[in-house]
């Protein structure tokens, strides 16, 4: 029951943050996304779970057009990004993305990692960019690392810098692709804490993760994908706690007790299974 104003861009103001319709993506003859429909409301936190190779990363990458969808539409905050006339660089700056492998710029200091995109993309001046960068670094608890180079930081610190770098662009929503899967177990908690506080502040988040405890506690909704389709979605306590589909149940069983399942399958199912903090 959202109030719709008479203005023409009412849709842009009150519509969903992400709206995906009939999305298909093939690499050559391999169909990776076989018709996806779903949307994320503003301020909502949605976790995407599913076995390796089910198309989770591809789905995320279609949202900011790092991958070109084969067919279907993706609309981000009222802008149809799949429209060929849309300036994709303008859309991307509104969408923060955090990668499994951090992808910090190794030739720049932490502060420069945060200021360079602001200055080159948003046209902020040096002082303004630095001010915003320091505020974001404080938010992820890395104030003292601004003059370090990425190689001098732990994985967990690098990933928090990557989150701060995305936040410095003042994005309307954030995409996370397995942000803790490349981390040593003891470093996962710091990154999840930052993501949790972001969610508390009302950031719209689409998170691919194997961290079931995070999904349970933070997500408004959990989406389970397998074989390029959404098998089931719903509240975390339903999808994780009482899954309806056999595929969801077997995925969760393998994820939570990898020792009892076929070893290769389990390793494949959860590239981060050994590194998760475990169910609470």
């Amino acid at each position: 029951m959202k109030a719709v104003s008479a203005a023409g861009d009412a849709e842009a103001v009150s519509g969903p943050a992400i709206d995906v319709r009939g999305l298909r993506k093939s690499f050559g003859t391999l169909e990776v996304l076989a018709g996806i429909d779903f949307s994320v409301a503003r301020g909502e936190v949605v976790c995407v779970i599913g076995p390796s190779g089910s198309g989770k990363s591809t789905l995320l990458r279609c949202v900011n057009l790092l991958e070109e969808p084969t067919s279907g539409t993706v609309t981000v905050a009222g802008t149809e990004v799949t429209d060929p006339d849309v300036d994709i660089d303008k859309v991307r700056r509104r969408i923060g993305m955090v990668f499994q492998s951090f992808n910090l710029f190794p030739h720049l200091t932490v502060l420069e990692n945060l200021t360079l995109p602001q200055r080159r993309v948003l046209g902020r001046d040096r002082a303004e960019a630095a001010g915003i960068a320091r505020e974001r670094l404080a938010r992820v608890g890395l104030t003292d690392k601004e003059s370090a180079y990425p190689a001098q930081l732990s994985g967990g610190q690098q990933q928090r810098v990557a989150i701060a770098r995305a936040l410095a662009m003042d994005p309307e929503l954030m995409l996370f692709d397995e942000p803790t899967s490349a981390l040593d177990p003891e470093l996962v908690g710091d990154v999840l804490a930052v993501m949790r506080s972001l969610a508390d502040e009302g950031m719209t988040m689409l998170v691919v993760t194997h961290e079931m405890s995070f999904a349970r506690e933070v997500a408004d909704r959990v989406v389970f994908m397998d074989g390029g389709v959404i098998v089931e979605e719903g509240a975390p306590e339903q999808v994780i706690g009482a899954p309806r589909h056999a595929r969801t149940r077997s995925f969760l069983a393998r994820l939570l007790t990898p020792a009892t399942a076929d070893l290769t399958e389990a390793a494949e199912a959860a590239d981060g299974a050994g590194k998760r903090s475990g169910p609470v």
């Binding site: 790092l66 660089d89 700056r93 992808n103 910090l104 993309v121």
Partner: protein
Amino acid sequence: MSISRRQRTRAIRGGQYAVLVVVLLVVALAADWGEIRRAFFDVEVAKAQFPDIITTALLNTVVYTLLGFGFGLAAGLLLALMRLSRVPPYRWLAIAYIEFFRGIPALLVFIALGFGVPLAFQVALNQYVTVMLALGLVGAAYMAETIRAGIQAVPKGQMEAARSLGMSQSRAMVSIIIPQALRIVLPPLTNELILLTKDSSLVYLLGLSLSQYELAKFGRDALNQNRSLTPILIAGLCYLIITLPLGHLVRRLEARTAKAR
């Protein structure tokens, strides 16, 4: 009678030393040392080369090399980007250029630019422009391939991260990819600088005025005047003053890169 393996190894090594001693003895006895000293280490001739061999010849060698390197680096970067372009004609042009200039002797380029262009077009190029082009055109072909490899060695995630922050393809190239690529190819580029230092000796082909002499031409001139090889030896040592530290730098850069991996 059987000898052990160790005995045999010892015998062979002893033989190798014996041959060396005999050769050295023969050379020492047969050679006319006075003549050799006059030819290579004539102190008077050596003294006469200074300070010009440093202030003119060595300096000019460095200037010519840097001119060629600077032009070659810029052109090489452009060629590398063309080589990686999504527009096929750019790729073809770059490949044709690279294959052509890597396949012909640098000497031919010097002749073409030094004598061919002035004759055919009735224009006299500035000496420095000629040197810059002649050294740079060939250097660019080699540097282009090096830089292309460097660009391709930057992880794919770097471009994706840059694009996901809203940077355009070209902005990401300039700010993110190329700085990292140049860092990766610093050792081979330094090697190219060493090669160019030596190739700059080809400048001696062009009719240069006295003040434009570089090391090789300077040495050759002094050789004619003094009928002594001493100036050539000194010129050689001057090249080593440049190339040996650069070679050392390359090894250190390579070690650093290996450690960073």
